[in-house]
């Protein structure tokens, strides 16, 4: 079996196979309190300290909808260019589990709050639209902890009742890479909107991945398997890779795919059957009689629409148009709202081209190295701008700039101070430079002769020697000019 990476077509023994993927992303709504209770949603608290009587399903307790979470869902829907349903209904999804205190999850089944929408992906091959089927609000369950004790399972209900948005894509994705771009784009949109922090380590973003395969050119969908609760993009990609090949192998050996729910085992890098279609839960959905249907005012939707921030796609367009950036550069700069803001802060006073290169290049490298976000960067936007201005005004050389940057990223000091202290100001006085050049030429008489007899390559050597003697502060352009004059 081989794989055509550019198109992600699996070449089996007999046929070429296309992979079809749909995602159900569970995004935790950014809100201070839970979907139906006033408990805090803060991450990392001591177990069972953020649990109300409602969250733990005491007798006679009733859910009351958190309006803010509703607004967040509407906002997300608008960010996905989706239809907002002015009428939606909360349903009960009934099943027993130790970390599900009510014995049912309150979710939206038939009438979700958000209908069809779309996300535009920027792929090397161009842009691609991925359809959104729906977005609905639901409660998260608590957490069962099986590894604290050899016999007992512990339950932490801090997460019980926290609001989730389940965002269901259409089966429009065709490769693990597209999944990567899709999840990142969805995350970016929600972070722009402030509706989900997208923190995958803390479980704020998880996905169920639906995978099926079909012969290249087929239009009918194959039987799918659902891989439950994958919590990183890397694992999603690994799971798809494994699962697609497993399905191709089965089909090529004349077997069929069972529609089932599978689990991805990170350690073994394989998916395993969790339950078959026959064992699938019958969730006995019915509308929750404790909650009235949700009727959204048109005016509320309009109000939220007006308050929407500029989203990544719009920002990208503007960056390309206003700042003459390449689509690639614009894409990188808008992927995080904070990066885009940083960039725009820098170019208020500094050169756009240089700013783009420095931010995408050195700054990103240093942030990656330290594994921090741009908002935690020791180099503030205004200092980045003054560093760039020092370069473009000729105050320091590009080489000196790298040295200044190295110090800035460690100390967060202002570039002007570093330049002064380290005496890195570029020597741009021709008389001073001429003196240094004279010294270099005198001590390298033999090389001068060789150059004059036609060894042109030695020009670089002389420039290098001048730079060395000036400790890198000589203005390279001026050195070039003077040397050329000397050799005439």
């Amino acid at each position: 079996m081989s794989l055509d990476k550019s198109k992600y077509i699996i070449q089996g023994g007999k046929n070429k196979w296309e992979v079809v993927i749909g995602l159900e992303v569970h995004a935790q709504v950014s809100s201070n309190s839970k979907l139906f209770s006033g408990s805090s949603t803060k991450f990392g608290a001591e177990p069972n300290t953020q649990v109300s009587l409602v969250d733990s399903a005491f007798p006679g307790m009733l859910p009351v909808i958190n309006e803010y979470c509703v607004q967040q869902a509407v906002k997300t829907g608008l960010g996905l260019n989706a239809k907002i349903n002015s009428y939606s209904v909360f349903d009960r999804k009934n099943y027993f589990y130790a970390d599900l205190p009510q014995g049912y999850q309150i979710s939206q089944f038939k009438n979700p709050i958000v209908g069809e929408g779309e996300i535009i992906l920027d792929l090397p091959s161009g842009s691609k639209k991925v359809g959104i089927e729906r977005l609905h609000l639901e409660q998260d369950a608590g957490k069962s902890i099986h590894d604290l004790d050899p016999i007992n399972t512990f339950v932490d209900l801090n997460r019980s009742g926290i609001a989730l948005m389940e965002i269901v894509s259409k089966p429009d994705l065709r490769s693990p890479e597209e999944v990567n771009v899709y999840v990142k784009k969805l995350r970016s949109i929600m972070r722009y909107l402030g509706t989900c922090d997208g923190n995958m380590q803390e479980g704020s973003l998880r996905a169920d991945v639906n995978v099926s395969v079909r012969k290249e050119g087929d239009t009918k969908l194959g039987t799918r398997c659902e891989i439950k609760n994958v919590n990183s993009i890397k694992f999603m990609q690994m799971a798809i890779d494994y699962e697609a090949k497993r399905q191709v192998e089965l089909l090529e050996s004349g077997k069929s795919i069972d529609q089932e729910t599978r689990l991805f085992d990170i350690k073994k890098n394989e998916t395993r059957s969790m339950r078959s279609k026959e064992d699938a839960h019958d969730y006995r959905y019915f509308s929750d009689p404790d909650l009235l249907p949700l009727n959204l005012d048109k005016s509320l939707i309009e109000k939220i629409k007006k308050e929407l921030p500029e989203l990544p796609d719009q920002k990208k367009e503007r960056f390309i148009k206003n700042y003459s950036l390449s689509p690639y550069e614009a894409n990188v700069l808008v992927s995080e709202r904070e990066v885009a803001t940083y960039f725009e802060e820098v170019i208020k006073t500094a050169d756009k081209k240089l700013a783009t290169n420095w931010i995408i290049g050195d700054l990103f490298a240093s942030l990656n190295e330290k594994n921090i976000s741009i908002s935690e960067s020791p180099i503030k936007a205004k200092d980045m701008a003054s560093l760039i201005n020092a370069i473009s005004s000729g105050l320091i050389s590009g080489r000196a700039a790298k040295e200044v940057f190295e110090i800035m990223k460690e100390t967060g000091a202002e570039p002007v101070k570093i330049i002064d202290e380290k005496n890195l100001k570029q020597k741009s006085d021709p008389k001073e430079l001429e003196k240094i050049i004279e010294t270099v030429l005198k001590s390298n008489q033999d090389k001068v002769e060789q150059y004059k007899s036609g060894k042109d390559k030695l020009f670089g050597f002389f420039v290098g020697q001048v730079m060395k003697l000036s400790c890198g502060t000589a203005n390279p352009q001026l050195v070039n000019d003077i040397l050329k004059k000397k050799f005439k």
Partner: protein, 486 residues
Amino acid sequence: MSDITKNSLTDLVGLIKKKEVKSEEITNAYINNINKGKKLNSYITESFDFALSKAKSFDKKPNFKCLLPGIPLAVKDLFCTNGVRTTAGSKMLENFVPNYESTVTSNLWSEGAFLLGKLNCDEYAMGSSNETSFFGNVINPVKENTVPGGSSGGSASALAANLTPATIGTDTGGSIRQPASFTGTVGLKPTYGLCSRWGIVAFASSLDQAGPMTKTVSDCALMLEAMSSFDLKDSTSIDKKKENYSKNLSKNIKGLKIGIPKEYRVDGMPNEIEELWEKGKFFLKEEGAEIIDISLPHTEYALPTYYIVAPAEASSNLARYDGVKYGFRSTKGSNLIEMYENTRSEGFGDEVKRRILIGTYVLSSGYYDAYYLKAQKVRQLIKNDFDSAFNKVDAILTPSTPSAAFKIGEKKDDPISMYLNDIFTVPTNLAGIPAMSVPAGIDKNNLPLGLQLIGKPLGEQTLLNLALSIESKTNLKQNLTKWWEK
């Protein structure tokens, strides 16, 4: 002084306000009755010490400005009471002590009343005879070996036997009105949403409604006024101003149009009930009301609809009793599933299990459309029946039940005949409209019979006024022999 507990609630309040009697005296008198009335099995939990300390502190510093000053009250054991165990008549909650207070009981306490005890009821309010309680069946003080009705059977029995001056129950399909009818007392199921459901052990959320059970119609008005309120904690609560039911209580029913639905004339109904109904019409007519024949064509579907909707919701509402967090947990079983199975097998009684099974079945995929969805549609038709009837009439008069109180054990093993008891009461729960039962006569065995008044949404005042007319016309004085004290 003669037996103080024979007074109506309204009279007791009057006596307290006139300082003719102290709260402690009243409380002691009821405690005395309760101690002598154990045979009725109407109390599950007594809170005498608490009640006496409350009574004493009231007497020390009385506040006469509230509706229920210094009045001890026992309530159905479905209302969560802070620090006092709340069992819902089930082994599952035998030792469950909430640390919170239901909105309805809170309202009563803030009007000056205090808790005297928790009253027996059918397990999770599922039953029509109070024979399904884990704490044993309740006896009707009206006659030995007779059921008090259900599910608020403990409330009705305690009230009729003067073991509490008034009480509250819950009514999902008739659980206030049917026991009121069986015990010769007044019971009102308010409009859905008038009283908060917060803190009441849920049976069927879209049908459950708390309401007063009292000896007189005036008491009923007073209790309803005290217990009802808009509650932000209940999303189905109605946002409206509190009514002054007592002040507006009036026998003037002149010109009111009263509907008589032909569908409530069912086969096999005793003549006495037919006659009672005629008597009711006659009384109201005499007071100047106009009697109009109406039709509620979908009435015959109400009972089957109810027995789909209520169990469906119950099967989900009772899922939380799984042994994990609180309440009973079986010690048998070696894994989670077995723990669930054993806990729920041992913790629930037969009737509760029956309804969970029915409810689970009607919600299952493949059956949902045929049962639950169909029932929801029929429910709407039943609602529509009432809506169009109320275009023509102000209230509807029917019998409360198709029979008088029956013998203990008579219907226990025949769920269908037991369910038929609710035939006149369930339609109003499905429609969410108010209805009350008022004593109107007795049958040949001296068993009380009630008439039901059904009103428009939030038409409680009209019902109370009509009931007051019937009450004053019939002039029934229940004089029980206290045979249970022997």
